[in-house]
Amino acid sequence: MPEDILVDIKKDYVLSKLRDNERIDGRKFDEFRKVEIKTGIIEKAEGSALVKLGNTQVLVGIKMQPGEPFPDTPDKGIIIVNAELVPLASPTFEPGPPDEISIELARVVDRGIRESEAVDLSKLCIEAGKNVWMVFVDIHALDDDGNLLDASAIASIAALMNTKVPASRFGLGGDFELPINDVPISVTSLVVGDKFLVDPSRDELSIGNTTLTVTVDRDDNIVAMQKSGDYLLSESLLDQIVEASIRVSRKIRENLLSQVSKC
């Protein structure tokens, strides 16, 4: 009950600020929180990255192993994205198999990587039709202070950029760097009436999980979109969000590349 009252108070505060065209933490409407990226912190993983997006923290680890290719892509590696919203990260997460929220998160991150062709899967074939590299991208939420999705997407591509293919461990020649072709950036906006707030914090999300995620590749193409939440989106707002997402994605990508020396 007190929890509910707190949410209501936060909500009122966010909305009243919005009426003055302000965000509660003073950010501009299209401004991300500070992004900090540390890669390679899990030595046992093939690649890893810890991303802090304000107080939101996500750790992504990459494990690789040989496996059978999909029948329709016999000469291509396989990427599997999985997200665990463990109860450590938020009082609202519960132990157990992935729920609809973590499944949606993993699938949207997956689409950004897949559709931007960020990983060159054709270079992950060991023996066509028989054996290819499987890349497991495991998203492990640590602290949910809002917008876990963008933090997960950034951590995933950063971890992939940090990945060495462990060929020698499997007697398959020398290790080599995972071939990366693109750096997709996902930009999530909270939609409130006719306004939108990029990279919403948890306090801002107290008004509802009504978001639009737009993932952009390095050529300003949109590679994935996901409207999430029970709201109606106007056409004009959709275009504004797409425009802003492209703009914001460039900054985030630049920031990411400055912190992750690669590509």
Binding site: E104, D220, V223, M225, K227, D230, S234, L238, D239
Partner: protein
Amino acid sequence: MSRPDKFIIDGKRLDGRLPDQLRPIKIEVDVLKRADGSCYIEMGKNKVVAAVYGPREAFPRHIQDPSKVVVRYRYNMAPFSVEERKRPGPDRRSIEISKVSKEAFEAVIMKELFPRSVVDIFVEVLQADAGSRTACINAASVALVDAGIPMKGMLTSVAVAKVDGVLVLDPMKEEDNFGEADMPFAFLIRGGKIESVALLQMDGRMTRTEIKEALNLAKKGAMEIYNLQREAIMKQFVEGGEENA
């Protein structure tokens, strides 16, 4: 199925359609006795049936919301609906589709009218083709009307794909599998006009301009589907009236 060399030849798609043309659609209302509302739709080779139960008491109790109705949506594929038999039970794809479809309906159902209750929307994909989620939303929307659930308007869904650099309406399987992008929409249509977007997903590669064009193409398709939905409901209303007379 393998990738075709070209998707559009002489301005026509592999199945002979023009880029802005829908697949054939068939809609039947009130096809089930037990459900409070139901609808069967064929959209291309998709064959889907939707049932609505409710508003009814929400159970277990802790899911009840004292201020509004709870909406549940279950998208389920029959094991025989696809080429290779699908194991029964929800997979990750079904769970995601159910989530975004539920949220689209939550945005249009007059939720405040039925506090502490639940409206269950069940859609079964009996045969799957490209765009089964859009067919299901269209069926569910009609089933909700059939069940008498008050909504802000009709929800109508259609996808747009990009193949050979061209945007095409209501993609078939080849266009979906091997195309450059796929973008399903659902619109709220009120008073015969498209008001806003209730569902939106995209994967592939599109420019900002293409997204705007895709939206316009989807709107054109949605209006055509909307007219068929309306027609089917009217027919049922008239015939149902006759039957009861």
